[in-house]
Amino acid sequence: MKTEMLAMILAGGRGTRLMELTEKAAKPAVHFGGKYRIIDFPLSNCANSKIRYVGVLTQYESIVLNSYVSQASFWGLDGRDKGTFVLNPREKVSGFSLYMGTADAIYQNIDFIDQYEPEYVLILSGDHIYKMDYDHMLDFHKQNNADLTIAGLTVTLEEASRFGIMNTNKDYSIYEFEEKPPVPKNNLASMGIYIFNYDVLRKALIEDAMQDSSHDFGKNIIPNLLNEGKRLFAYPFAGYWKDVGTIDSLWQAHMDLLAQGDPLKLDDENWKIYTEDIPTTPQFIGPNADLKGSSINQGCIVDGTVINSVLFRDVVVEKGAEIINSVIMPESVVEKGAKIKNCIVGEKQLILENEVIGSDDRIELFTSREVK
């Protein structure tokens, strides 16, 4: 059971700004990129980084997410010495308590972590889109003899006040951590990816649990460790990273995928993003189709125009229909002559014959008519 580094993915949040998309399923379960769910990214990163045990902490509307995450074979995380483990809030001797913050969620699962006697614990967020080799980050952590390493992304100064900002020395050691500073001194943002020495984390969580605190890594745990004089380092990350927290950013991330030279490199054979394999029919492109700058998944039947758009599995686009700058989620049907522009159409939606949705000035979400 012993493992060097155990991963814990925080996947409990709703993602309220994703509106109806997260009404029935938490944000990590939201569809992304034509065939994936958001949580496929951290889970595939774990699998590709040779991490063997992954705990997934879920809370908000977790039926879809729990049943999904428990299928470890989707990511090759099945095997005698591997696994994914769903960790929902549960009743204990002390009573029942929801997860009251990111740190509290991990604190409530100390018993789970203890089973694996890890030297290091990797803490991730279940709702970010990126590719990262956590093993490289662990090397960096070890080289610096760090207690905590935080992955950091250079953002614009305007964006910086939405993030936890790390003020570092030349060697990337952190001397100050400011959670969402109104006037940022720096633009190196925390990506919410942490590698802790487990003994340090365990002690910090237990101490935090006794205090009146927000039980949050950014607000409490990290500043406390800095005050104690622990060795904190920032691990600079240079690739594509996106928090798809709003309809606009979810749409934009899909447009990024379609841009020249997909920044996520989804077709990289050496770092595949794994996902559920749902049997579908092949993809049929009909005699009247016109496809430009689009990504189309298997099972789609397309006889209309699709420009600069992403179609998920089993979407039907009938003759004369036109889809521009849009994202159409699985099993939706776009009938003859319908026109869709600048939209995200949810799962199993029906767009009627000659119906026109979307406009030039904003991104719309369509979830109001299910396929019967």
Partner: protein
């Protein structure tokens, strides 16, 4: 639902798909972009509630074994079900002796010891959508020794040449002979046999006593044998194709690009399972022109394709024009290349001689992995 033992038979010696089968056995040939030929018979068995399947393997077992594995992607239960490969290298160099009867005889104890009473034997190169439960029900009702599935066709002068055909009187099969394409209307055998397990064991025992070189079909085709066996026909009305030559392979692929035709083979309540490759959705760039195609995931289309089947991760570069062709996985059609009426085998690259043009009588074939 009855518990049935499924046996996937190999094709007889006459069946050769010129070029393609030099590299792998027919069941392992890539078909319709994302499938292998064997996926159809295995999916038919699994969808018919058959959870114990034995696959007879003739030669070149590597790619087939790699593809079917332990069968979990076909939904075969990993504990209570089984997908067993029956393979031998005995007699492999002497094709005369390498028959299904001899292979079944060698493994007869495996059949004898199985828990199922009834056996369905079907080859993989007959592409169809059939529920074997219905065949077994009819078999039990009629009290036949063997029930054999056939389809009445009306294009026998050009298709199914070399297949077995039946003369049927009052539903009893009287004569089995090879179809030479002289008449249009005929009863084509799907070489799919249902019988009691004990009858099969007696049959292979008797066949091998009569001739050490008998196959199941050649034994049954002998008029003396058939007169002693109550062999009944089961009339199949659905889609049927036979992959027994390069021309049939090519034509079957091209025919199924038509979605109305393909609906006879694919339906959502009868999924065709295959091994996933975790490829991203197919991507069409802003210069792509696509009409009447079936495209697998992982493809990137920058050029023009018309009436084509593209296997997984095929790349069609800028300015390339591909018409009426079947392109197998990982092939690259280079910039400005012109490909018509061709089968481009797996991983081939058309980057030097940029014109590959066949015609309907003589399909062009580019070998696996070749750079042309």
């Amino acid at each position: 639902m009855r518990d049935i033992l499924g046996i996937v038979n190999f094709e007889n010696e006459k069946v050769r798909v010129e070029g393609l089968s030099n590299f792998r056995s027919i069941p392992a040939i890539s078909f319709l972009g994302r499938y292998r030929v064997i996926d159809f018979v295995l999916s038919n068995m699994v969808n018919s509630g058959i959870d114990h399947i034995k696959v007879l393997v003739k030669d070149k077992p590597r790619s087939l074994i790699e593809h079917i594995g332990i069968g979990s992607h076909y939904n075969i239960n990993s504990k209570s079900g089984s997908l067993q490969i029956l393979y031998t290298d005995k007699d492999i160099t002497n094709k005369l002796y390498f028959t299904d009867v001899n292979l079944l005889n060698q493994y007869s104890s495996y059949i004898k010891n199985s828990n199922q009473d009834y056996v369905v034997i079907a080859p993989s190169y007959m592409i169809c959508q059939i529920n074997y439960q219905d065949v077994v029900e009819q078999h039990i009702k009629t009290g036949a020794d063997i029930t054999c599935v056939y389809k009445q066709i009306n294009d026998g002068h050009k298709r199914f040449v070399g297949c077995e055909e039946f003369d049927i009187v009052n539903n009893r099969i009287k004569v089995i002979k090879v179809s030479h394409g002289s008449t249009s209307v005929k009863n084509i055998s799907l070489e799919t046999y249902v019988m009691h397990k004990d009858f099969l064991l007696d049959l292979i025992d008797e066949a091998s006593h009569q001739s050490a070189a008998y196959s199941l079909t050649s034994f049954l085709s002998n008029n003396d044998n058939i007169s002693f066996i109550n062999m009944q026909g089961y009339k199949y009305e659905g889609y049927l194709a036979c992959i027994n030559s390069l021309e049939e392979y090519y034509q079957t692929n091209i025919d199924l690009i038509n979605y109305e035709k393909a609906k006879e083979l694919f339906s959502r309540d009868w999924p065709v399972y295959t091994k996933t490759n975790d490829s991203p959705p197919a991507h069409y760039t802003s210069k792509a022109e696509v009409k009447n195609c079936m495209v697998a995931n992982g493809c990137v289309v920058q050029g023009k394709i018309e009436n084509c089947i593209l296997g997984r991760a095929v790349k069609i570069k800028k300015g390339a024009v591909v018409k009426n062709s079947v392109v197998l996985p990982n092939a690259i059609i280079g910039e400005g290349a012109v490909v018509e009426n061709a089968v481009i085998d797996k991983g081939a690259k058309i980057i030097v001689n940029k014109e590959i043009i066949g015609d309907e009588k003589q399909i062009a074939y580019v070998r696996r992995g070749d750079t042309i």
